[in-house]
């Protein structure tokens, strides 16, 4: 019954939302994101490039970086995301219980305020992959926090006092919150988590003034839930038709359809479109849910004011591998075949990196960004469909059959850890996994609030390669080519940062913060922080000095699969070298480390 109430509510607000809105916060943030001294949103800017114009720390002096100061969050869970910096104040968030700290940069991080919500600990076990949180958002003197229990709270940035608070979902059904909010216009956009619990995904726009819902757009369901227009919303140029969010599902399965929206959202102020992806459809057993399962595994381009989708593109129809489509959508203009295009670049979990025209949704490039990807030979550029290899199709192999040697593993060639783009080189720098898997689907039944998975997986380093579990790569998204690839012993689970100082930063699961040359990938600097890094690097300037900041704290999916060590490859697959457990390299932690050059 709850679903019907939500349906009625969302269609009502969708109509109200049609009235044009003028966001002053939008204009404020559009300007603020251009100031490299601040770091005003988790991905650095609306385009999601994680690129900074700061160049005090450069290729020649980065080797001299030192720790300037450190801060403990007091929590020992996986620390994803990273802090914001706004006019001399740093806002640091923690995993559950989702503490937020405002730190005074004029006093080496003295706490101006601390906010710790009281949450029911029963939300902890319904978070699939540790109690991570990917950060807070800022707008209009307000910090927006999206808590584990789905509460969205607006805090006064000066005092930490609660301005308003709303519930985005029901944790007793497995709905949780991990995604960072994005403020665009006068709305704060919130994605949901719970794809392993049969949760129906949606993106919700709340009015930043009072927390009222402007619109809610589901990933699956009839048109008044998905906010898709049969004639106007397109998929590779073709209208999607009526009720496309239910037409490729059997019966009511779309209600358990997954398609959660726990990744990153970006925004193009000129086109007034927001971009994000949806996750896996329902159970991991593909045999149990025939059809394309639209619109799971899909890139959405939605109008900010109304939520109506202009275009969609489903990357992995009828998922058979858990290749969620939630990774970042980076918005840059690039020359393709001699023509400047407004592009969207998306390195997907499924091992293909996609370049699309972000205005029309036209597919321009779709290429493997790890040569070991084998579940599909290529993406058909006419239909947009991956050409699935029967040997690696867990659906075709069938239930109770262990399909072996699939690359990439369910972790994807990359997960949510966001890439960076440098306009100086025109290249994307992508943190990747180099992991393959065996996958056996079997029958499961749905119980609200209980895991709804339906597959057994084992993972191991990509066979016949360097033996490590990750690479950090430079990617040319106009051609779909790897420019260089730097092997890593473990998956690179940290968001990257490129700067005008010709340096690219990323963190590693052993806990190293590394700086590399954007042209060659040569290592210029590394420092071992107290715990493994799954957070995102950022940079800011304070009192004329450039700083680089990173959260350490091993955990997340990496903490599940890798803390124990992956299964050594089975003999037939011939992986090179034995895998050593990450537990020998790092320990739990929760620390911010801030770096700077030594004072001369």
């Amino acid at each position: 019954m709850h679903g019907f109430k939500l349906l009625a509510a969302s269609s009502l607000v969708a109509v109200i939302g049609l009235a044009p809105s003028h966001g002053f916060a939008n204009d404020e943030l559009v300007e603020m994101q251009k100031n490299p001294k601040n770091w005003v949103m988790p991905l650095g800017n609306y385009a999601g490039t994680r690129y900074s114009e700061l160049d005090q720390i450069n290729k020649d002096n980065v080797g001299d970086l030192q720790v300037a100061w450190t801060f403990s969050t007091g929590v020992l869970r996986g620390h994803e995301g990273g802090p914001l910096v706004i006019d001399g104040v740093m806002y640091v968030h923690a995993p559950f219980p989702n503490t937020v700290f405002a730190l005074d940069l004029n006093e080496n991080g003295r706490m101006i305020w601390k906010y710790e919500p009281k949450q029911d600990p029963n939300v902890i076990p319904v978070m699939c992959c540790d109690t991570v949180n990917r950060g807070v958002a800022y707008a209009d003197g307000t910090i927006f926090l999206h808590q584990a229990d789905t509460t969205v709270v607006a805090l006064d940035a000066k005092t930490g006092e609660v301005k308003w608070s709303v519930e985005n979902g029901d944790p007793s059904k497995g709905e949780t919150g991990t995604a960072a909010p994005l403020v665009a216009g006068d709305k704060v956009l919130i994605g949901n988590s719970g794809g392993e619990f049969g949760v129906q995904g949606h993106l919700t726009a709340y009015n930043i003034a009072d927390g009222s819902i402007a619109w809610r757009a589901y990933s699956t369901g009839p048109d008044d839930m998905t906010l898709l227009e049969p004639e106007n919303t397109t998929h590779l140029g073709e209208p999607v038709g009526a009720d496309s969010g239910t037409a490729t599902w059997e019966g009511d399965q779309w209600k358990l359809g997954g398609g959660t929206t726990w990744g990153w959202t970006t925004y193009d102020p000129e086109l007034n479109l927001v971009y994000y992806g949806s996750g896996n459809p329902g159970t991991w057993n593909p045999v149990q849910r025939p059809g394309d399962n639209r619109w799971s595994m899909t890139i959405f381009a939605r109008d900010l004011d109304t939520g109506v989708a202009k275009w969609v593109y489903q990357m992995t129809p009828h998922d058979e591998w858990d290749f969620d489509g939630v990774n970042e959508m980076i918005l840059v203009d690039q020359e393709i075949d001699g023509e400047m295009r407004k592009t969207l670049v998306h390195p997907d979990r499924n091992g293909f990196a996609y370049t699309l025209d972000r205005e029309t949704g036209e597919l321009l490039v779709a290429k493997k960004y790890d040569p070991t990807v084998n579940w599909a030979t290529e993406v058909d550029m006419e239909t947009g469909r991956p050409q699935v290899v029967a040997d690696y199709s867990t659906g075709q192999q069938g239930e109770d059959v262990n399909t072996q040697g699939i690359c990439p593993a369910a972790l994807g060639t990359k997960d949510q850890q966001p890439s960076t783009y440098s306009p100086k080189t025109g290249l994307f720098y992508i943190p990747t996994n180099h992991v393959c898997m065996d996958y056996e689907p079997f029958q499961v039944s749905y119980t609200a609030g209980q895991p709804y998975v339906g597959a057994t997986l084992s993972m191991y380093p990509a066979p016949d390669s360097h033996g490590g579990l990750g690479n950090f790569i430079a990617w040319d998204a106009t051609k779909g080519e790897i420019v260089w690839s730097k092997p890593e012993p473990f998956s690179v689970w940290s968001g990257a940062l490129a700067t005008a100082g010709d340096v690219v930063f990323y963190g590693t699961l052993e806990g190293y913060l590394k700086a590399v040359d954007p042209e060659t990938g040569d290592e210029l600097f590394k420092f071992k922080t107290p715990s493994g890094i799954i957070g995102n690097v950022n940079t800011y300037e304070h009192d004329g000095k450039q700083y680089v900041a990173i959260l350490s704290g091993i955990g997340g999916w990496a903490g599940i699969g890798l803390a124990a060590g992956l299964t050594e490859s089975t003999a037939g697959l011939g992986a090179v070298g034995a895998y050593e457990s990450l537990a020998n390299y790092t320990n739990l932690g929760g620390q911010l480390t801030v770096f700077a050059l030594p004072s001369s």
Binding site: V126, D130, Q450, A564, E568
Partner: protein, 155 residues
């Protein structure tokens, strides 16, 4: 649900047979798996699959634990079958230092767990005893697998 032992009980027609059955029951709790030439019975095999469907998201691959839940290869060294059932059915919470709330949910209403709870126990006990290694165990051929035959007959 423990078909293997229930079958033995079902055969018990005399007092002495029942005594034997109780002994068997206790033996099952101590050693709930059959392994021949490195191959495991259906219960242990299915336990591997069902464990990796639900439990592994916290307790890690091959029951080795994660950064936020204990290794069951250790826990099952000392935990009794009764305690195991109790915790899986009712869940439990522990308040730790440094905001380390540890919460195990109740799986009482989860048929993907409760229907196969003895299989999961068999697998975990085999892991704790170091009787099966990491990864997917190899199954006994169905025709040689007493546990599989009984399971099949019960479905």
């Amino acid at each position: 649900m423990r078909l293997w032992t229930m079958a033995v009980v079902g055969l018990g027609l005399s007092l002495s047979a029942l005594t034997t059955a109780n002994a068997q029951e206790s033996d099952w709790e101590e050693k709930p798996y059959i392994i021949e030439d490195g191959k495991v019975d259906y219960g242990t095999y299915n336990g591997y699959r069902r464990y990796h469907n639900t439990c592994h998201v916290c307790h890690g691959p091959d029951a080795l634990g994660s950064s936020f839940a204990p290794s069951l290869t250790e826990s099952l060294k000392t935990m009794s079958y009764t305690d195991f059932l109790e915790v899986v059915t009712n869940g439990r919470q522990a308040k730790g230092a440094a905001n380390q709330d540890s919460v195990m949910p109740s799986f009482a209403e989860n048929s993907d767990v409760m229907l196969y709870i003895d299989h999961i126990y068999a697998y975990l006990k085999a892991r704790a005893d170091d009787a099966v290694g990491r990864g997917r165990p190899e199954r006994l051929p169905p025709e040689e697998d007493q546990v599989f035959q009984e399971w099949k007959d019960s479905q």
